[in-house]
Assembly symmetry: C2
Homo-oligomer: 393 residues x 2
Amino acid sequence: MTSVYLDRIAATPLLPEVREAMGPFLGEAFGNPQSLHAAGRLAQEAVEEAREDVAVLVGAQAAEIYFTASGTEANNFAIKGLALGHQAKGRHIVVSAIEHSSVLNSIKALERQGFTATLVPVDGSGRVDPADVEKALTKDTTLVSVMTANSEIGTIEPIAAIAAAAKPRGILVHTDAVAAAGSVPLDVQALGIDALSLAGDQFYGPKGGAALFVRKGVRILPLIDGGIQEGGRRGGTENVPAIVGLGRAARLAARDMEARRAALVPLRDRLLDELPRRIERVLVTGSRTDRLPHHASVCVEFVEGEAMLLSLDMQGIAASSGSACTSKALKASHVLLAMGLDHATAQGSLVFSLLDATTPAGIDRLLEVFPPIVDRLRRMSPLWTEHLKKRGS
Amino acid sequence: MTSVYLDRIAATPLLPEVREAMGPFLGEAFGNPQSLHAAGRLAQEAVEEAREDVAVLVGAQAAEIYFTASGTEANNFAIKGLALGHQAKGRHIVVSAIEHSSVLNSIKALERQGFTATLVPVDGSGRVDPADVEKALTKDTTLVSVMTANSEIGTIEPIAAIAAAAKPRGILVHTDAVAAAGSVPLDVQALGIDALSLAGDQFYGPKGGAALFVRKGVRILPLIDGGIQEGGRRGGTENVPAIVGLGRAARLAARDMEARRAALVPLRDRLLDELPRRIERVLVTGSRTDRLPHHASVCVEFVEGEAMLLSLDMQGIAASSGSACTSKALKASHVLLAMGLDHATAQGSLVFSLLDATTPAGIDRLLEVFPPIVDRLRRMSPLWTEHLKKRGS
């Protein structure tokens, strides 16, 4: 069984208050919010209360929040819906090279329809330079999308500056804040953005509860056509328990964000400091300064991430090699390659992402267990043997 | 409070066994199925077990089941994904005139991309004639989509005969079985179809748990692009509790279908017999013979559906005026208009849809309460006064 869970970026447990808030809607309060009777009204009121809570978390108005079933759906909705809704003005999109697969693959789908896209590079810490975004803009650009933070490397991007470069030209700005929302303060007004994706399962809300903020008055085409739900912009019966859970998780995240951060950062920094100290040829990936408070990531040279994960798992430690959406694809991460790492190094990628329940003892356990695992795996690697020989000579 | 719930088509409560099966995945078993550790494997095993249960319900193989977050998403995925995936062969789609808004609005989205569609009419009971489908096929037709049953009128369509008309020409056949799956026996092999949408919240599973069957080897483009989940055909973190709940609900539906049906049909028929007997100018809508076992629908002339629903609600009775996805749109139903009803009659549409927990006493209560409600509302209607005068003369 897992005793030390360090895979927050893949999934968080429900907070007890979140599960409690969802309870009635998995029980007697099973109504459909669109129904014209008491059971329907009860469900609708709960959905609207959650909408308000989510809006507050990101400084939006409730009417600007559209519920979706995942961060991936929110990203698809944003990229496709905004690009298609504004294609009369132009068909060029600017994104960073390290976006999530839901953004990059939405772009690919649009490219098959004749859109073009420019991928803006990142520096060695995974940071996008707003000047590079500005340079990529053309007269056909209608949309810029850069993530708030990257879940593989923890780096937080300069979204306000990126938006400032795009907005004067009337270009829409979306940010995939799935990895960041609930963990770092976000204000859509201060950021100057038009759309923002978030997902509750990244901050102790339920799977299936996510949302897209779309600024009032911005045209967006539905991704999921259907009934009159979500102002006609997203069809399908509202997933009331998931929405209620998302709302409650958002409310708690807004309330506790600073306290959570204060507790997480020392643990995170201990990992970032100690891992390279205790294990030879370990490289911290991502920014040390602009970084998610719960996120430590490294590349361990001469070992494959998967082998390390399986060994850690046998010791009861859960971690990941990057995005859950690609973890089993066993390809070198496009994020790490974009940062200039070579394929071999990128294969040794590991992410340790902390829950608020993570204890100093849990971190100690990882620091104790991990170096011998790396040692053992490296002894099986011909490349490591070769490296040792070279180093010895 | 609601004492008699007759709005199954809008929402069903979770069966206790379903809620129990979901429980661990809302608690300690919160892992992401894509994670390479114990918590991830536990989640993945549960998802695959659910996939098997859903497959069995419709006679499919597990690998042919793709989880979605709603019946609406499944319909969007099917219509857009199949049409776009086969557009090199042709860009014409055939659907019935009484499809759900998620199908019809998906068609509209495709029409904006240059597709064309033919809407096949229905008869007075809402039945599609397979010969009409056959007549509508052209050399450019790649997809036929007709619903298994309509949630507003309960009519079950002759899907096998419709598929038999399309298949010899190599045309794909999809059926929106959201209203039918879990309530009537379905076998994708016997029906001869390529795709089928279903939603657990129609048969005591959770909101957020739905699926699309796609026959092995049939090309379909993703609606939601993203990671490697669902074989790369549907991105987004799997909603494990909802999927587990759907699976359990499917298993129970397969086991209990015949017993449920046997108990529901007499109650349904009592409504269909008694409502026109006890209230003047009440018209049963839909088929009497090919009908969902839990479904009674009528049009009450000279009264608006919404007014009746609100009055019933005040008496603790929950019903609906049609599809939850359009109930608040307050437009005359396209389904009823397609059946040849006039606007005025269609405005008086009501659906009483029964849970398995519905009792004979609940039905009696409706039959007792409803006639005086109609009387009272009609007394306020100038059209009714006019009708009385005409009748009297």
